[in-house]
Point group: C2
Chain length 389, copies 2
């Protein structure tokens, strides 16, 4: 009995395999520092957890509407007004099962077989697989430090082909934590509009921009599809809740797809998310963000000192994409070496695309400053022979 051709095309999300290996080593008694996983070590803040508990005690265990609780759709719409001074109708909000659910719904709603969507390479590896599942094609555009590993309007225009139907950017990006300037993003939107294509902006790390305030892509207009999540800034990874903003005219199709593919997002997570958006919760989230920023400031100069290339500084998210030319190993071999010899788990660049992926690795600063310091010392010991040699 055969499987689908696509089953062979779906690559493993390598970081999950590394995580599994790291956990297996831990089970053998090894003390592994986890810098591979895109998930902060912080637990969900207490007011959010308590709201979840209260919802369970109140018997909120049934399905919600497929697009989410009306109160949550309103709260998310209100969030754009408060944070970005942009008027978003609750009718344009779809609550989803993680940003993953949003990406699937958007790809399914927009792209036919053979349609192409431009993606950043390096970029979030699942994006091309969401496209693959609906028989569309994610086309990675090779990016380097000259554009801070982000797409530009010029690159989008240059790579737009006859089958291109849209472009998906992440702002900040994963694995690089770099930004697209507001004016550049507006220019990308114009390129897409001029060609009758879609601009999709993944903003799941947008609240984790450290040194400045950036507008959401929602300010560009109703035609831009914005994806966000309660996972990263709101520290609700395991709850599996995200959302999207789409043009009002697209919402009925998103609703039908969500009804059929998901029935509804998890109910307890939706009630908890209402607390996540409460003003009282924000200081707790901001404190965590400050902590993440301190980790970044600890990590960057040290990685540089150890011989990693850091051509661009990450401005958001919790990742450092580091060049490893100095060490004379490809990224998978280096990640393997650090896992086995330094007990530090990181992600090889090959998880994020094909362009220059063997010459980069990703460090996630999703563990404590103390653990990061321990990891740096061990990495230094493991890599020193390579530099001297």
């Amino acid at each position: 009995m055969e499987t689908a051709r696509r089953a062979a095309d779906i690559e493993p999300f390598r970081v999950m395999a590394i995580l599994a290996r790291a956990r297996a080593l831990q089970a053998e008694g090894r003390d592994i520092v986890h810098m591979e996983v895109g998930e902060p070590d912080f637990p969900t803040p207490e007011p959010i957890v308590e709201a979840g508990i209260a919802a369970l005690r109140a018997g909120h265990t049934h399905y919600t509407p497929a697009l989410g609780l009306p109160a949550l759709r309103e709260a998310i719409a209100g969030y754009y007004g408060e944070r970005h001074d942009v008027d978003v109708s609750p009718g344009r909000v779809a609550v989803t099962t993680g940003a993953s659910g949003a990406l699937l719904l958007v790809m399914a709603a927009l792209f036919d077989p053979g349609d192409e969507v431009l993606l950043a390479d390096p970029g979030y590896p699942c994006n091309r697989h969401f496209a693959r599942v609906v028989e569309a094609r994610g086309v990675g555009v090779p990016l380097g430090p000259e554009s801070a590993f982000q797409l530009t309007a010029e690159l989008v225009a240059r790579h737009w082909g006859p089958r291109t139907r849209g472009v998906l950017v992440a702002n900040p990006g994963n694995p690089t934590g770099t930004l697209i300037a507001a004016a550049e993003l507006a220019a990308i939107r114009e390129v897409a509009r001029a060609r009758g294509g879609w601009l999709i902006v993944d903003e799941i790390y947008h609240e984790l921009i450290y040194d400045r305030v950036e507008p959401s892509a929602a300010v560009l207009g109703d035609d831009v599809i914005v994806i966000n999540s309660f996972s990263k800034y709101f520290l609700m990874t395991g709850w599996r809740l995200g959302w999207l903003l789409a043009p009002e005219a697209l919402i009925p199709a998103i609703d039908r797809l969500a009804q059929n593919l998901f029935l509804a997002p998890p109910t307890v997570a939706q009630h908890a998310a209402l607390a996540a958006l409460q003003p009282d919760t924000r200081p707790l989230l901001e404190a965590r963000k400050t902590e993440l920023g301190m980790r970044r400031d600890l990590l960057l100069p040290e990685l540089s000192r150890l011989g990693f290339d850091l051509p661009v500084a990450p401005q958001g998210a919790f990742y450092v994409y580091a060049g490893i030319a100095r060490f004379g190993l490809d990224s998978e071999a280096l990640a393997e070496k650090l896992l086995l010899e330094a007990d530090v788990a990181i992600t090889p660049g090959t998880d994020f695309g094909g362009h220059d992926a063997r010459r980069h690795v990703r460090f996630a600063y999703t563990t404590s400053a103390e653990r990061i310091r321990a990891a740096l010392a061990r990495i230094e010991s493991a890599l020193k022979p390579l530099i001297n040699g």
Copy 2:
């Protein structure tokens, strides 16, 4: 800017629209009896809720492995040993985001564009849309009372075409609550195997078979894909958790797809599900099942007395699929009439396929006996003029 062609092909899950209208009428002060929704009115039993609360208090808010918590995969495997005396390896279990997640993963793993999968008509409406999303095609086989609205080996063989790659059955079925006899299911498997195709068995209502004990399709062999859910019998709809059993060789593809499309199923639901499978919880679930059976026994003779045709008795799930020839209205008009004139929400047959769908409606006995009695009295008043006329 265009949407995908599939967006227009995805039909609304009509019951969701009816539910929304019923809720709108309620908001106007009307007292609506809900017999449309495939979700029992019972809250999740307390030990399950408490396990969820304990998990949240313990900080279990992070991602789990994509295939689910190892302890839950083991518990599910153990459940097949205890309930069905069949040895299932935990490595064959994938925990999913509802049975919906399982259906998407299975369709994505097995079916290429243009591949066909045979489905029951009438049947669960989302099945053909899962196929549509991966550009495969669900082919409904028209079924009637002569096969208790279920596929038979003979029908599967007759409808198997050059592009058919599998057959999906639900046992018991939705909207009919009827069963496929064990020998017939074994024969269907043989037909599929002989043609190199897959048998997928949806058993989400399997624990809600009232008057007999039926073996799970898992006993037929490792090659049969079994889908199940914590939603219906375990009363965990809003938690969004299900599972599948697949051949060991298919699990790596399912794992890769799950990593990319879902990351992981909801964590709190997984911890709660461990309690759902505890022996102590079972009496609570059985008591709810008994209550559902009593509702069925109340509803069936009364619907018959009111003039509905009940050519086959439902043996499981919580649905009655009733013929409405006597009333001279099509199913959508009748559902509309009952909603507006009797304040009773039911689902027209058109939600479940095309075959004879305008001559049937579905009653879900997912509300209390008292409410069912009230609904029956109101339905009688609304329909009496149609019978006399």
